[in-house]
């Protein structure tokens, strides 16, 4: 199907159009208008509806990319842009969109540079949607790099006093990854004498020297996005310096692109050269997990604790993907769905707590006792995050871990230990926030989250619970 404007293109276009509308929308004023916010939220909701429609159109358990769209971009050199989705990419897209709605809720009252925030966020959403539907190496590369621009701009606008330093790190690591990936793409392009669909990578035969270089390049560029040692440092610095939940969310989603890259690039049957790389990666991965988990345990910054939780889980998913087990991939998709929503909610409400703490001029010990609705949501999210059966994290992590333990027991044990440590850190934080004896405020509920947000978050809790019962509960006949 050539040059047909179709549904996958549409889900890239909707946030982009939303961005354009937002650009021309009226800024929030004293009269309470929220045009910018409303347009942005509408664009995301519209895209969620489209994503749900795509779920209806596809056969969810069928392997391989579906609803493939091909656009001939250039004749000489011959470059085709190919889009396609499978259940993994769609689940991730749905989770990201829901996380964006939660993020927008977190910044709805933040009127400073609101338009810029919404515009760049929607641009990021459009780019990352493109990234997840990209089915050829060229569009994959374009979207992989294009999504850095909005984050770069957001960091510059909303970062704290040390933002210059963090932007330097951000550029240093990401430029390194981008250049290496670009070289690998060009080499592959020349080697194949034309564009390459990602599915064809599975069958690609390379000569040994080229193979050695290309896989090293792809691994390093993908790893530059994932918080494994030493790449974790730029992500940690950026994440712990940002006090805007929406930008934290975006920077938290960025490592997902690296993880997803492994899903798309790793062949089903690994060439021998990759065996060494994967072993090294496994060692670095588990060491980073333990390392970050320990730092998260001792660090008093709540944001860092959330970051350490995010890191440990990302690495676990990465190691799961490296096993190249199709069933595990499906479970990772289901697990990721809950994981992204939980982390987004925790970050948004953690930011709310910090804001209230500043406004009330009190310590945050026991603060949740004065905010009953917030307390319910935050507790639910923390308990889900630590792995209790309240979301799809529980069952799907079980399967991922059982596979990883069977593959390598030592790696599995370190992973479990890291999970225990990050879970303990989150629980400890919850108890501190709910310690009634240390609460300096009375439970008036005056500054608690509004009834509307509470209802929405209860709906999100319901979505998570349903994902535990059946991950694809919203797909009829799945």
């Amino acid at each position: 199907m050539l040059n047909t404007f179709s549904i996958l293109s549409l889900i890239i276009a909707i946030p982009f159009l939303g961005m354009l509308f937002t650009l021309f929308a009226k800024e929030a004023g004293d009269n309470g208008t929220r045009n910018v916010f409303s347009v942005a939220v509408f664009a995301v909701i519209a895209n969620i509806v489209m994503i749900l429609r795509i779920f209806m159109l596809m056969e969810v358990y069928k392997p391989g990319l579906q609803l493939v769209e091909t656009y001939n971009w250039m004749q000489n050199p011959n470059i085709d842009i190919v889009f396609g989705v499978d259940v993994l990419s769609l689940m991730l897209l749905l989770a990201i969109h829901i996380a964006f709605i939660i993020g927008f809720i977190g910044v709805r009252n933040n009127l400073e540079h609101q338009k810029s925030l919404m515009v760049w966020s929607l641009m990021f959403l459009s780019m990352i949607t493109g990234f997840f539907v990209a089915a050829d190496i060229f569009s994959f590369y374009i979207f992989f790099e294009a999504m850095l621009l909005p984050l770069f701009m957001l960091l510059g606008m909303f970062g704290d006093v040390k933002r210059q330093e963090y932007i330097n790190r951000f550029l240093l690591y990401n430029m390194l990854g981008a250049v290496i990936f670009f070289v690998a793409t060009v080499l592959l392009f020349n080697y194949q004498h034309g564009m390459l669909e990602l599915q064809q990578l599975n069958n690609m035969k390379l000569n040994s020297r080229l193979e050695y270089f290309i896989w090293a390049a792809i691994f390093i560029s993908l790893l530059s996005r994932i918080p494994v040692w030493p790449f974790h440092y730029w992500i940690a610095s950026v994440n712990s310096s940002i006090r805007n939940p929406m930008i934290f969310l975006i920077s938290m989603i960025l490592p997902l692109t690296g993880i997803y890259g492994f899903v798309r690039f790793l062949p089903k049957t690994l060439p021998s050269i990759l065996g060494n790389y994967i072993l090294i990666l496994q060692i670095i991965g588990v060491v980073t997990m333990l390392f970050i988990a320990l730092i998260g345990l001792i660090n008093k910054d709540r944001q860092y604790k959330i970051f350490s939780y995010i890191t440990v889980y990302y690495i676990m998913y990465m190691l799961g993907i490296l096993t190249r087990n199709e069933v595990i991939l499906l479970n990772i998709a289901f697990s990721f769905f809950s994981y992204l929503i939980i982390v987004a909610s925790m970050e948004v409400f953690s930011h709310y707590i910090a804001k209230e703490q500043n406004q009330q001029g009190v310590l945050d010990d026991g603060l949740l006792c004065a905010y009953p609705k917030l307390s319910i949501i935050y507790s639910f999210m923390t308990l889900s995050a630590v792995g209790l059966p309240l979301s799809s994290l529980f069952l799907n992590n079980f399967l991922i871990l059982s596979d990883l333990l069977a593959v390598n027991i030592k790696m599995g044990i370190i992973m479990l230990l890291s999970l225990v440590i990050v879970s303990s850190a989150l629980l400890k934080e919850l108890f501190r926030l709910r310690d009634a004896e240390k609460c300096a405020l009375t439970a008036s509920g005056q500054n608690d989250i509004s009834r509307g947000i509470f209802s929405f978050m209860l709906f999100i809790c319901f979505v998570l619970l349903m994902s535990f019962i059946k991950p694809l509960w919203f797909v009829i006949g799945a």
Binding site: L294, I295, V386, F398, L405, L427
Partner: protein
């Protein structure tokens, strides 16, 4: 029948937990009590009729995983579920009528939900169903505990237990490829890392049951309302521990470590329970000590003598309930006096209560003595003697001798509330009904021992320990865990943070890269400076390079 009961209770419990209103507090809790009682009645009827009713629901059907939810009814399952139902009804009854319980509706609904989860755990035919039920019991227990300090250890210990169990299930499933309990014995042939599996399992069971070393989580619960404490002690996560032990029993023997660890811990738990029951001043901590003795004893009988699980469950559940109600009755009668050192001479205002307590206790002893044979019987006999001495010692301090109570307590001394006495009588009657004329001599001997202890009060010197801060306040295992686990992890975390993040990455890699970039920029800037000398130098250097290449080419 079990499936229907679970659906009704789940629906009612969920609705009741959400729609909490101060106006409907008592009515809703009473209705929950009534609904549970009616269900209990029908379950008992079905049990007596020997009903067998299969119920299996296909929950998940992945390529790699099939999980069915089983809630089939049969006599064996009824026997395991009915005691929990009875104790839950007693807990609800107390909650409805006790004025100290403020959030009646919430508590009763949580108990109803917990009953559903217990049914799920008992009926589980696969690892996943049991694992989920165990985790849900942790969540519900967390909600029942209405004190933040008490929640801390409970949550951490149970989280660790659930994660250990999670790991055991993951490992087992990874090797045998099935979640069915029937397939567990296959692990002995197909499995690897047996030591790890057995140790993790023993760890999970010990944490759930609150065995020695992990018992301080139970003692932290002593700040709760007596009724909540009693319920949590044996109907919540400790019961989950028992079920886990029962269902995972084949895995305890796949390694040389599993059973010895559990056996050692159960013996030490009995010792720890005796210590607490005798030396702790707080009446709630004494209760926890008595329940611990029962848990330890139950495990000894299960692990050393392969006793019938049903009997052990009855002893632990009914015995625990009897002890809780006995001491709760005292606590209630003395206007909520916590310290046993401030009691004594309560018999004058509390004769009826004492009599009922005696009946219930001896009914329990009698049941305990008739339930075992062979070597297990002698262990039970010795254990009954220990229990008699401990209980006689506690009751002696409370009911006889010189009173140490405040004037206010003495003036307000009354018989316990009707619902406590009724519950005690019901439990005593139930235990007595299990046997008629067997083991009467042994029970009589225990009675004599009891009277002797009451009269001669042989352990009177232990009273001095009530004033010892070391005994009453210290939490040795918290200090040990803190010293051995938490502090090293914290130090390691700090070292890694400073050494790796700051010194290696920030100061070495990033700064070096920045400096190198700066140096490169400076060098290139200098090279590009407009200068006649440099121009001549570049021209000469180019000639030199050409000459060198030409020379190398000719060579």
């Amino acid at each position: 029948m079990i499936a229907n009961s679970v659906f009704v209770l789940a629906l009612w419990g969920a609705l009741g937990s959400i729609l909490v209103s101060p106006k409907s507090n008592r009515i809703m809790s009473f209705m929950t009590f009534m609904i549970t009682s009616v269900i209990f009645f029908f379950l008992s009827k079905n049990y007596l009729a020997g009903t067998n009713e299969p119920f299996s629901f296909e929950w998940l059907k992945y390529m790699s995983l099939q999980v069915d939810i089983d809630l089939s009814s049969n006599t064996r399952k009824f026997e395991q579920i009915l005691p929990i139902f009875l104790l839950s009804i007693i807990a609800m009854l107390v909650a409805v009528f006790n004025s100290e319980e403020m959030r009646k509706q919430r508590f009763c609904c949580l108990v109803a939900l917990n009953l559903c989860v217990v049914c799920g755990a008992v009926c589980a035919v696969n690892l996943m169903q049991l694992l989920i039920c165990s985790c849900l019991m942790t969540v519900l227990g967390f909600c029942i505990i209405d004190d933040m300090d008490a929640r801390k250890k409970y949550a951490f210990y149970n989280l660790l237990a659930d994660l250990s169990l999670f790991s055991v299930c993951s490992l087992t499933y990874g090797y045998i490829g099935s979640l069915d309990f029937k397939s567990l014995p296959m692990f002995d042939k197909l499995g690897a890392h047996r030591d790890l599996v057995a140790i993790l399992l023993a760890f999970a069971i010990s944490l759930k049951l609150g065995l020695f070393m992990f018992h301080n989580q139970l003692y932290d619960l002593s700040v709760l309302h007596f009724n909540r404490l009693a319920y949590l002690l044996f109907c919540s996560t400790p019961f989950a521990g028992l079920i886990i032990l029962h269902k995972f029993y084949p895995l305890t023997s796949v390694s040389a470590y599993g059973q010895p660890i559990l056996k050692t811990l159960s013996v030490l738990t009995v010792c720890c329970g005796i210590y607490s029951a005798l030396f702790m001043n707080n009446i709630k901590e004494k209760t926890i000590g008595l329940v611990q003795i029962l848990f330890g004893f139950g495990l000894i009988q299960l692990l050393f003598f392969s006793a019938d699980f049903k009997v052990i469950e009855n002893i632990i559940l009914f015995g625990g309930a009897v002890f809780c109600l006995m001491l709760y009755a005292v606590y209630y009668a003395s206007s909520y006096e916590l310290n046993v050192s401030k009691m004594g001479g309560f018999i004058s205002g509390n004769k009826f209560g004492f009599l009922l307590q005696m009946i219930a206790f001896f009914a329990l002893l009698h049941y305990l003595l008739i339930s075992f044979s062979g070597n297990a019987y002698y262990v039970a006999l010795g254990f009954a003697a220990i229990l008699t001495i401990v209980v006689a010692h506690i009751l002696r301090q409370i009911f006889f001798g010189e009173t140490h109570a405040d004037e206010r307590v003495l003036a307000m001394l009354k018989n316990p509330a009707w619902y406590l006495l009724f519950s005690l009588l019901a439990l005593g009657g139930l235990l007595a009904s299990f046997s008629y004329q067997k083991a009467l001599i042994e029970t009589g001997a225990m009675f004599i021992l009891f009277v002797v202890c009451l009269i001669f009060y042989p352990l009177r010197k232990t009273e001095a320990l009530y004033n010892s801060e070391l005994v009453q306040e210290s939490d040795a295992f918290e200090t040990i865990f803190d010293f051995l686990i938490i502090t090293p992890l914290t130090i390691l975390g700090r070292i890694l943070w400073l050494l790796v993040d700051f010194i290696l990455i920030e100061r070495t890699i990033i700064n070096s890269l920045r400096d190198a970039t700066g140096l490169m920029i400076r060098s290139v800037s200098k090279l590009n400076m407009f200068s006649a000398k440099l121009y001549i130098f570049y021209v000469l250097a180019s000639f030199g390079l050409i000459a060198f290449l030409a020379y190398m080419g000719n060579k």
